[in-house]
Subunit: 396 residues, 2 copies
Amino acid sequence: MINEAYKAMLGGKSVIRELSEYATARGAEIGYENVLDYSLGNPSVPCPQRFTDAMTDLYATAEPVALHGYSPSLGIPSVREAIAESLNRRFGMDYTADHIFPTTGAAGALAHALRVVTKPGDEVITFAPYFPEYQPYVDGTGAHLTVVPADTENFQINFEAFEAAMNPTVAAVLINTPNNPSGAVYRAETLTRLAEFLRAKQAEYGHDIFLISDEPYREIVFDGGSQPYPSRFYDNTLSCYSYSKSLSLPGERIGYVAVNPRATDAELIVPMCGQVSRGTGHNCPSSSIQLGVAKVVDETSDLSVYETNMNLLYDALTRLGFEVVRPGGTFYIFPKALEDDANAFCMKAKDYDLILVPSDSFGVPGYFRMAYCIDTEKVERSIAALERFVHEVYGR
Amino acid sequence: MINEAYKAMLGGKSVIRELSEYATARGAEIGYENVLDYSLGNPSVPCPQRFTDAMTDLYATAEPVALHGYSPSLGIPSVREAIAESLNRRFGMDYTADHIFPTTGAAGALAHALRVVTKPGDEVITFAPYFPEYQPYVDGTGAHLTVVPADTENFQINFEAFEAAMNPTVAAVLINTPNNPSGAVYRAETLTRLAEFLRAKQAEYGHDIFLISDEPYREIVFDGGSQPYPSRFYDNTLSCYSYSKSLSLPGERIGYVAVNPRATDAELIVPMCGQVSRGTGHNCPSSSIQLGVAKVVDETSDLSVYETNMNLLYDALTRLGFEVVRPGGTFYIFPKALEDDANAFCMKAKDYDLILVPSDSFGVPGYFRMAYCIDTEKVERSIAALERFVHEVYGR
C-alpha cells in the first residue's frame, strides 16, 4: 500500500529548488549567463587536480576487485585512519580510526549522528537561521526539531532564547558553523558559552546532551581566520563533515562522523552508526572515492573566489543601504530585505533576473540568502542589476 | 542521550560476519590461501575493463565540476534513461527515466521501496530461505517482517504456507530471485502463481499489495537460462537492483528501484523515493559512478567462474551423499547438513578449515550455505577437505 505520509510530502516543494528550477527555465529563454542565479549552494570551483590524479592513479594501478570491493561496514580502515590523523594534526584532537565513521556526505553523517543520540519523541534544538533540510532530517528519526530564534545582531547564538527553550527532553543540540545561510562563524566565546551551558544542563538533568556539529563549510573562512573546532569545547560532540565544499565533490557523497574520544560511550558510537546503516540502507560511501579522498585529506580546492565574491557583494549591499552582517565564511550572505515580506522582495527581484532566496524557510522572516558560489564576473554584473532593482523598486 | 535500541543491537553479531572474521584471523595463522572460506558473498571477478576505461575517460575528459557535481535528488537524467532503455531492451518493459530511481545498491533500493509502499505497523512477507539483512531493513521502516517457511523440495515458494500467512495487514511481499542463499531461480510458473494469488488478495482486501523484487543476482543464471523478469508478471512491482554482482562493483554502492509503469501511483513512486531520501540521508549514489555505469549498462563481468564452481561443488556434494538442490544461479549453494544442528555441523567443519555458514539465520534450520565466489583452484582443494571431513566425522 502506498505510504500516504510520503505522498503528502510531495506537495511541499523546497523554495530553493523551485527558484533554482525557475533560474534554469529562465536560462533556457535568455541564456543562463544572463540569469543572476544566487539560488543554489553548489560549489563553482573544480576539485583539486591532485584528487583527479589520485583517482586516475587508482584506476590505472589498483586491482579492480580491491578498488571496488565491499567497504567494511564501518568504512575502510586506512581511510578512517587518514581522516583521524588529519583532524588530529589540524585541531589538536586525539581521534583514532575507531572514532571516524565515513558517510555519504553531511546528510548521511547527520542521519547517523541524530539516530545514535536521540530516540523517537526526544527533542533536538537548532538555531535560526538554519538549513531547511534539518526539518526532514530530524523528522526522519522520529525526534522533534525545536528552532531557537536568531541572534539577528551577528548570527551567533541567541542565548536568552536558547535558555528559555532548553528542557529535559532535549537529547541533542544541532549547530552549523560556518553557517548556512548567514555565513556566520561561531566564535570561541560562543562555543565556550554553549559548552558551559550544556555541561550545566547535563548536570541538572542527569543525562547526556550531545552536540551535533554540522561542519561542511569548515574550510571556507575569510580574512585569514579559521573556525574554532567545536569538539575542542565540549566532550559530547559528534562532528559531521562533508567533502562537498572543501574538495568540491558534492555529487560523490563523502563525509564522516567524528566522535570525540571523551564523549559518553565514545567507543560504541561508531559501531552504533553501523547498526543505524542497516536500517537506512546506507552501507558506506563509494569505496574508490573513500580511497581517493584519503590521499588528499589535508587539501582543499582553490576556495579564494568565495572570499572575492563575498567582499564585492558585502560592499555593494552596504553601499546600497542593506542591513547585512558581514559573513565570516561559507559562500552565503544573508541581508535584510527592503520590505518586511521577503517573499515579495524576492519575487520583485526576479524581474531583474536576480534569483534570491527568501529567508522564511531558514527560520527567520524578512531576510534573503545569496549563494555566491558563482563566477566573479557574474557577481559584478549582478551588482549593476541590484542597483537598478533597489533604485527602481525601492527608490534608493 | 545515547539511543539504547541501537546500543542493544551491538550484541547481535551476524553469523556470516563472525565466520568471515574467523576466516581472516585463521588466514593470518596458516595463510589465507589455506582457509577454504565460503562465508562471504563478495564477488571474486573484476569489473569489466570497459567500466575501468569509461571511468578513466571521465576523469581525463569531463569537467570536474560536472563529474562531481550534485546529482539531482532523483538521479542523473541521462543515467536514469540509460537504465530504463536497457531494461526495456532486455525484458520488454516500457520504463521511462521517470520510473528509475538510482540508489546506493540494493540495500538503498530496498530501504526506499519498503518505505514507499508500507507504513509503520504494516506487515511485509518474505520467503525462507532469505537474506538475513531483510530483518533490519524492514525493522528500520517500522513495518513487521513475516517469514513464510521454505519449500525445501526446490526452494521455489511454499504456497500452502504463504496462503496461510496472508492477511489484510500485508502491504508488500519481498522476493529474492535468483535467491541468496539457495541459488534457486524462480520459474515462470512460480511467478505466475504468485501474481495470480496477489491479484486475488488485492481484490479481496480492497487495497494494493506491492511486490518488492530484490534482484542483484539477476545476471548470474546457469545452463544458459535466464531469470524471468518478475515485473512482467505483476503490475504492482518495484524491482530493486544492484550492480554489485553483475559488474563486480559492490563497494561503489550503485543500483536502482525500477517502478512498473502500470503500478498504482507509478508516476509518484520515484518522487516519493526522493522524499524518503531526505529522512534517511541518502542523496543519490556517487555522481561519477552513476555516469560510468551508464556507459556499460548492458555489460557484465565474466561471470562464468561461478557456474564452473557450482558444478564442481554440486557434483562433489551429491557424490558425498548430501541432499542438495542444484542452484539455478547466484554464487551460493545450500545443502542439507549431515546432522540436524547446522551450527554444530559448521563448527566441526572449521577443524578442516572449511568455513561454512549455518542456515538458521536464513530462516531454515539444518542447512548450510557455501558462497563459491572464490577461485576454482580453491574450490577443488576444498572438495578434498570436504571428503576428509564427512569421512572422518560422519563416516561417509
